[in-house]
Point group: C2
Chain length 288, copies 2
């Protein structure tokens, strides 16, 4: 596996693959890899001729400096996992390479932003202002550098997936976005790099998020169509855990993320949930 | 010359050129072509193997609906001129094709924006809020659709040129931006599609913009280094024409557009000017 740390080197590798007519897959990550990331890498490995991943902890998508600084960066372990899972290349640039060097006389950290309106301002976007602007901006940069045919995003970050799909459609990026299913612990907790920061008690309590989502899905299966009652029932499940502070529970149109008042046939719905557990921000979602 | 009206057709043509190893040039326009546009087309024709132009009156970069509606659209004349000047293809999409169809149930006019901060908010950006967001967004779309190697922009719209250069750098578009010199009438007035809307008296008065800029350049040649005095002298020239209402006169760093207080060796400077003449917005600029 080649490790590349400059946009120029990554672009030139991708160009050489394109000249050979290879189908190029891409899995963007912030490192601190877990089975959720690796399942995307495996899916991409099956579908593509050449495959690169990126590791870049993107400062622009962190609203809290503290969260950014505490974000784990186990680079050697991550790059070993990617190599073992079959990546051909790892793109791991510096902040300076991606955003310009603010040290140089006329530099500034960032100047150009990609903003996905509406999608970027609701739910997670309301809890974390600027977050999706950071996500869309870095993904646009990565797409233009690595020029993949396909890019893989986990459904665990469902709103992020919708933001990226919308950006690709609106800006005509020639990239197919492939969603990958959420990978879970035995008790249902969605894998997240942030789970490692939970205390044993918080870790146990955090499983209530998925129990709440399953409660919603079960109610829908048994005929419930009223979104407010679904939200209420899911909230009630979460409230059995005092360590879990719910930020939002929402029942939305699965494509547009518009809040629904009622579930109707032919309009796919999704339940989204976010909570703070011991100060750690966790999210999850489920098809209804 | 092929005329294409869908992003899919344009992309597929560009892909076929790339497969043949052709160097692709691109001249984006809003139509209502004049010698300024055609000089860019000629330059591109010399330098590239294959050449496409676009005609798209971009609603997102007009702040006034009135200005948008009055914008001339002489399509047959424009396409004849492009053909005669050697374009291989003309991309002329509908608003719906570029921004999605707001008529469809869940549509909205635009959702994803590209914003070049700072550059986009000063000078023209202050006079026309949202203008450069519209420019950057449409150019990002056009670059992703036509995937040119080189794109040609007139220096007459100097700030626009800097906004695009910055966007290309920041988002890592693999496109070389080539500036073309301003083309002028005999009396110095910079060619603009808007000039046609001036009354004969306004047309004559409008030439004062370039006289003012030349006054600035002459003063610098004779040793003036104080930006405030340069601005004052250029304003004074404009004020000899009561039909010309100055919006701004600025002396800025030619690369960063930062206002200068003093001209110093090794820091290229540019004078920019904007005025309303009979309600028509005109801009011009010169190297100092």
């Amino acid at each position: 596996m080649q490790i590349l740390d400059t946009p120029e080197a990554m672009r030139s590798l991708s160009e050489s693959w394109r000249r050979e007519g290879r189908l190029i897959g891409f899995v963007p990550t912030m490192g601190a890899l877990h089975e959720g990331h690796l399942s995307l890498v495996r899916m991409a490995r099956e579908e593509c001729d050449k495959l690169f991943a990126s590791i870049f902890v993107n400062p622009l998508q962190f609203e809290a400096r503290d969260d950014l600084e505490r974000y784990e960066r186990p680079f050697d372990r991550d790059s070993r996992l990617l190599r073992e899972t079959g990546c051909d290349a790892l793109f791991a640039p510096s902040v300076e390479a991606m955003y310009g060097a603010p040290a140089s006389g006329e530099g500034r950290l960032v100047q150009t932003f990609v903003e996905v309106k509406e999608f970027g301002e609701i739910l997670e976007g309301a809890v974390r202002p600027g977050h999706f602007r950071g996500v869309a901006t870095i993904v646009a940069k990565l797409f233009n550098i690595g020029v993949p045919h396909r890019a893989y995003f986990g459904e665990k970050d469902y709103q992020q997936l919708k933001v990226i799909e919308q950006m690709v459609r609106d800006l005509f990026f020639d990239v197919e976005i492939v969603p990958g299913p959420t990978v879970r612990e035995k008790d249902g907790l969605a894998l997240s790099s942030r789970n490692a920061r939970l205390s044993p008690g918080e870790r146990k309590a955090a499983a209530v998020l998925f129990r709440a989502l399953r409660k919603g899905a079960t109610l829908v299966e048994s005929g419930e169509r009223d979104a407010a009652r679904l939200v209420e029932a899911m909230r009630a499940v979460c409230e059995t855990q005092p360590l879990v502070e719910v930020q939002y529970v929402a029942v939305v149109d699965a494509r547009t993320l518009e809040p629904l008042t009622e579930l109707v046939g032919g309009r796919p719905a999704r339940a989204l949930i976010a909570a703070s557990v011991g100060g750690i921000h966790l999210i999850d979602n489920i098809t209804l």
